[in-house]
Amino acid sequence: MAGLTIKHLYKRYDNSGKKKKGAKLNDYAVQDLNLECGQGEFIALLGPSGCGKTTTLRMTAGLETITKGEIYIGDTLVNDLHPKDRHIGLAFEDYAMYPPLTVYDNIAFNLKAKGVDKAEIDKRVREIAPLMQCDDLLDKMPVKLSGGQKQRVNIARAIIRRPELLLMDEPLSHLDGKARQAMRTEIKRLINDIKCTTVYVTHDQLEAMSLADKIAIINFGVLQQFGTPAEVYDDPVNEFVASFIGEPPMNILETTIIGDGDHFLFTFEGSDLQIKVPERYNNVVSNGFKCKMGVRPMDVLVGGPDSHGMPEKVDTFENLGDERRIGIRVGNTLMMLITDDETRYKAGDIIKLEVRGEKTHLFDIETGNRIRE
C-alpha cells in the first residue's frame, strides 16, 4: 500500500488531427494539479462533467499520457511505467466483465493471467468474495447478475490483486435509487476494512461527502479546493465550491452593504429584506460595498409571525416529511430555507427569519472568491 502524490500535473489534448468546429484549441483538460493522498486515505475527485477528473484518474492509471508534471505512487515516479506495473486496481463505471466466464473466473482472471498458482487464486477469491458479499454468486454467469451485483464483482476484481492504489471511476452511476445508496455504504465499509489508498471519481457531491476522507473539487481542469468534507461544506474557498456542495445548494445573493463604521446591513435589490452583517466582517466591508452573500438553507432560523426577525412572505412551501422547505423571493432569486418546525405555511403567509450571522460567507462579485474577515 502506498500514498499518491501528484505534482504540477497538466494535460492537453492534441486537437490538431480533428478540428471540431467550436472546440477550443490548446485548452488544458487538467491544469497545474497538485494533490497529496496519504497511505490508506480515501480521496474523491469531484466536479461537473468534463472538468478533468476522469482524465486525472486515467493519467494516474497510465491509460493516458501526461503532458507535464509528475505522478508518484508511494515513492516511485510512475510517469513512464506501463499500467500493469503500477500496482493499481481499477473499477470503472461500465463493468466490463467477460461474459463467457463465471463470476469466479472473472474475479480470478487477473491472477490467472499473471500465472499465480491455483491454490493461491482460490484462497484469495474465497477471501474477497465475502467482503464484497458475492460469495453466493461465484458460480453464476455475468448476464444473470443485477447492476449492483455486477458492480460488486467489478470491485472484487479490482481489489483481488491487492493493489497499492485503488482507482474508481463513477462506479455507482449505473445504479439507481436504493441500490445506489446501499452500494455506497458497502464501498465505504469495504475500504474501511481493507484500508487501501483509494481515489474515487464522481460528479455526485453526496457520494464524495459520504465516502471520502478528503475531497478535491475540480472545475475546468483547475483544482478549486482540497479538504475534508466538513471543510468544503463549512468553509468553501469560492462561490463554485459553495454552490456545488450541499443540497439544496447554498443561497448566494448579490448584495449591497449599507451602514456606518460599526453596524452594517446586507440589502438586496428588489427586496426590503435586510440582514445584519456579522461584526467580524467590519474590517472588510464599507457603506455601498457590493458583494455576494452566501448562507446555507439550514442556517436561517424560521419563526411564525410573532417571533422576532425580518418579516418575509412565503413564496413556496414544501412539506417533505422530516423537514419543510420554504422559498422566499429576494429580488429575482428564490432563497431556500429549511426548517424542522412542524408549522404548515401557505404561499403568501408571513414568516420571520433570522440569519445565523456566523454562518454567512461573502464572495467577490467578479471572481467568486471568498472574502474573508
Binding site: R189, D204, E247
Partner: protein, 385 residues
Amino acid sequence: MARIQLENVTKRFGKVTALDGVSLDIKDKEFFVLFGPAGAGKTTILNCIAGIQLPEEGVVKFDGEVVNLVDAAHRDTAMVFENYALYPQMTVYDNMASPLRSKLYKKDEEFIKKKVHEVAEMMKMENLLERLPSQLSNGQKQRVAMGRALVRSPRVYLMDEPLAHLDAKLRNSMRTELKSIQANFGTTSIYVTHDFMEAMSLGDRIAIVNKGKIVQIGTSDEIYYMPCNEFVAQLMGDPEINIVGGRLEKTGAGYAFSLNDVEGRTYQLPEDKDLFAALDEAGLTDVELGIRPQNVKYSFDPVEDYTKCTVYSYESIGNKSVIVAEIGNLQLRMIAPNGLAVKIDQDIYVKLELDHAIFFNMETKEYVSRYNEAAVKALAAEQEG
C-alpha cells in the same frame, strides 16, 4: 377544469395485469399525485386517462361523462412524457406551438406567438425558442416538454415523471420551481412520480400505487403520519422509516414493549389513552413499530436509558447526514448534522422516541394505531380544508 373518475379500471397486457380494479375520484382543480415504485402501474393509469391505452374493464369519466370510447385527440388533455417526447425535427418554438396548430385546437399564429412567449417566459426559456431539441440539455428539454403542455388550457394536465431523468440537484430545484408555478395551473393536474419528495411537496392529495392497485389515498400528512401499512411507511420518507419488531405485554393499564432483536431490552410505553384503547381492541402481542429517523436520538457518550450500538455507516444526504447504527440484527437509521467526526464501528448510544411510534401488525404489516392519532388526523383535516 374537470373532475376525473376511474371506476374499477382493469388493464391487461397479454397475461400481465397492469391495473387491477383501480378506482379514483380526482376533484376539479386538484393537483393529484400518483406515487409508487417502478412498475406499479402509475403510467398505465395516466395513459388510460389520456386515451392512449384502452382499459379492458371499468370506465373513465371526465365530469361524469364516460370517455372510454373517445380517442386521445378528442379528450382535450395535455401530457408531459417521461422521456419528453419532443419532435426532433422541430424547433422549440414549433414544438410548443404544435398543440395549437392541430386541426382540433387550431389558433391563429398571432395568438400562438403570444401564448408561446408567455409560457416561455414563465418557464424561463425565452432564449431557447430557436433551438432544436438535440441542442438542449436534459433540464432544458424537460422545460420544453412542460411548456408544450402548458400552452393549452386543457381539461386536465397529465405529467408522467417529468423530473425523473434530471440529476438530483436539478430535480430538486425544478421541483421547487414547479411548486411556485403550480398556483397558475388552475386546472386539474395528475402527476406521476416515484420520488417521495415530489409527491409530498406537490400533491394536494396522493394515491399510493403498488402492483396495479391503489393502496392508500390521502393528503401528504395523512399518508406520512398514518400510513396504512409498512410498505407505504417505507415508501414515504428518505432515509427510510425504522421498523422494529417486538412483543407487547399488558402491564396494568399500560403496555410494555420488548425488542425482538435485542435481548432484554424492554420499554414501558408512554401513556396515550386512545392508542392503548386501540391496542386493547386489536389484542396483539407481536407488533412492529415504525419510528422515523428523526425520532431516534443518539449520543457518543453513555447516557442512561440509551442503548449501546455500533456505527455501521455515516453518510451525507445533502444538508444533513444519516447515521446507521447496528445492534445485533437490527439497523437503526437516524439523522445527524453534516461534518461530524464519526468513525465506522465506533460506539454510539441510541434512544428510540417511542411516543412518535406507529404500530403495525407483525403478521399482516397493516397499520394498527399510533401515538397522537387524533392530533395527526386534525392536522390532515386542516390540510384538506
